[in-house]
């Protein structure tokens, strides 16, 4: 097996043996169970005339609640990715664990890419597993299925990968806890900057709008989150928000358009840059 895959397998194995996967599985099942119960209550809500909500209204309410629940899932994924990737390299350098491995015919780039691939697989599997479970639970409870479920999972997974990539880059030089905290703060700042950008759009203020654009370029986590939101919204909701013009675009928990293809292309380039920087940083580090 090539060294990259050996390291990737070792990373997955470590998460499994350290019971990280088990903890995430149990917590996810609990959240999905509670949310299914909550979503089911939407179908029993009555309007002023005593009738249950029509399907179109159920879909709109459900989509909004789903966005909040998925925000929590994406947050868990981003936080976990940052916390796990922060010490990914640095802690193994500090403890000496990498010393004997690096004396083998293994390139440092293979260590970095292998770890990224291993954690990337975990992020992808968690995003897909948790996403599908939640979508199935919502479908069972309300009959609503988001219009773009595959896109939704892909965007949430990509958001996790963004935090993983940032945490790992920092981990090649900084102590684990510092790298993890910086990645988390960066994620929150990027989200807030995205909200500022939305407000700028609503107020038609170019300077504020630029804050959102620049933050999306520097750390594309919020831009990907907007893609996930769009994938969850029913067409009727999108149409009504479009009718509101710029004000319709000023909601941090709503998206009128999918992320532009140029942004998605940039995300691919961004991943390549982050991986390249991580490899360069680790290769030039003295151990």
């Amino acid at each position: 097996m090539p060294p990259i895959l050996v390291i990737a397998r070792l990373t997955v194995q470590e998460s499994s043996r350290r019971r990280l996967l088990l903890a995430l599985l149990i917590l996810t099942l609990v959240v999905v169970g509670f949310s299914a119960w909550g979503f089911n209550k939407i179908t029993t809500v009555t309007n002023s005339s005593g009738n249950t909500l029509p399907p179109a209204q159920v879909a709109v309410v459900t989509s909004q609640l789903l966005i909040v629940v998925v925000f929590m899932f994406s947050g868990v994924l981003a936080l976990s990715a940052a916390v796990v990737s922060g010490p990914l390299i640095s802690s193994e350098v500090e403890s000496g664990l990498l010393l004997s491995m690096l004396a083998r015919p293994v390139r440092r780039s293979e260590i970095v890419i292998g770890k990224w691939v291993g954690l990337g697989v975990l992020v992808g599997v968690y995003a897909a597993g948790a996403g599908l479970l939640e979508i199935a639970a919502v479908d069972w409870a309300t009959g609503y299925v988001p219009p773009h479920p595959v896109d939704l999972i892909a965007y949430v997974a990509a958001e996790g990968l963004v935090l993983l990539s940032l945490g790992m880059l920092l981990s090649t030089r900084l102590p684990g806890i510092t790298a993890g905290v910086i990645a988390l703060v960066a994620w929150l700042i990027a989200w807030i900057a995205g909200v500022v950008g939305d407000i700028g759009t609503g107020l038609q203020n170019q300077a504020l709008e630029n804050v959102g654009i620049v933050s999306h370029l520097l750390l594309p986590s919020d831009g990907l989150w907007r893609g996930a939101i769009f994938a969850m919204e029913p067409d009727t909701l999108i149409a009504s928000m479009r009718a509101l013009g710029t004000f319709g675009r000023a909601n941090p928990f709503a998206a009128i358009d999918p992320p532009p293809i140029q942004f998605l292309a940039w995300v691919v380039v961004w991943f390549a840059i982050m991986l390249g920087l991580s490899v360069w940083s680790f290769r030039t580090r003295e151990i």
Binding site: Q13, E14, R17, L99, L102, A103, P105, R107
Partner: protein, 319 residues
């Protein structure tokens, strides 16, 4: 059995004469900012020999090993392992390394850690089982093969690290303080393992400040201090002198000063230690002390130990 081992060793030594040395460095230097960790290290370790790299804490021993293994980049100078420039990926297939700071995946079992190193080495998969069994037996961990490393004592983890360094019958093994966490039995085992390695022609680069161990197993040593090699050679080259301890009373200060004609003296009151004294001069020494009116109670010549020589070298350096 011992004869066969000796023959193998001789054959390896002959091979060494014709082939490239196991380790060669020319002016290898490493600076960290203004601190010189290693200053122009030039040395050669023949194949099949046990080379002791000695020095006090912070002398630059671990830095030298890390430079040779490509974990650090030299500020200047060059190095070769098994005839190939330092950092050559292919050469690492033939090298074993036990770091001073040894740590292994606590969530894996001992056998799994060794399998991981077999895979990274890389060794043919068909040989893993035998390699792992042999190595576990060599380092005395057969009974704990399937236990998680996280449950191991420090000494057992060091044994495991030693086992990982031995996988695949390497041509060169770096052991950085290999007995730091071991009890006397473990230290004895490590000495036996090192002797076993040399018997099959493996060169061993042994970093240590446990001088008695080095004295027992090394063919050749270099003493490093403040990043500089202050002495090197075979054990016989380094330990040629004799130390003589004399217990005498009634010696005046003037008399004591005169005794410095017999070489460097450690004066501890009634006890005087003459370093690096030719054994033929012992009767003259005793006669001189008696002539000064002193009473001699004990004269104890002994062959200089590596520790004596090591301390003497460091003392000379400080002057």
């Amino acid at each position: 059995m011992a004869e066969v081992a000796e023959q193998t060793r001789r054959a390896a030594s002959q091979g060494a004469a014709s082939g490239s040395p196991a380790v060669k460095t020319v002016d290898l230097t490493k600076r960290f900012g203004h601190t010189v960790a290693l200053a122009g290290l030039s040395m050669e370790v023949p194949r099949g020999e046990v080379f002791g790299f000695l020095g006090p804490n912070g002398a630059g021993k671990t830095t030298a090993v890390k430079l040779l293994l490509g974990l650090l980049r030299p500020t200047s100078g060059e190095g070769w392992l098994l005839g190939k420039p330092v950092g050559d990926l292919g050469t690492r297939r033939h090298i074993g390394y036990l770091p001073e700071l040894f740590r292994y995946q606590s969530w894996l079992s001992a056998a799994e850690v060794l399998a991981l190193h077999c895979e990274l080495a890389p060794l043919p998969r068909s040989s893993w089982k035998d390699e792992i069994r042999t190595v576990l037996d060599t380092v005395g961990l057969t009974d704990r093969a399937n236990d998680r490393v996280g449950t191991f004592s420090k000494g057992m983890q060091q044994r495991l690290g030693l086992g990982a360094a031995l996988l695949g019958e390497p041509e060169l093994v770096f052991l950085d303080e290999p007995t730091s966490a071991l009890d006397p039995v473990g230290r004895h085992d490590v000495r036996e393992i090192i002797r076993g390695l040399t018997s099959r022609g493996t060169a061993v680069f042994l970093n240590s400040h446990l001088l008695s161990e080095v004295e027992q197993v090394c063919d050749r040593v270099a003493v490093v201090d403040h990043g500089r090699v202050i002495a090197s050679g075979t054990m016989d080259d380094l330990l040629s002198g004799t130390t003589v301890r004399v217990r005498a009373t009634g010696l005046s200060q003037a008399g004591r000063n005169k005794l410095s004609d017999f070489g460097r003296v450690d004066d501890e009151g009634d006890q005087l230690t003459f370093n690096n004294l030719n054994p033929d001069r012992v009767p003259d020494l005793v006669a001189a002390i008696v002539a000064m009116g002193a009473r001699v109670y004990e004269v104890a010549p002994r062959h200089q130990t590596l520790e004596d020589r090591f301390l003497q070298l460091l003392e000379d350096e400080q002057k």
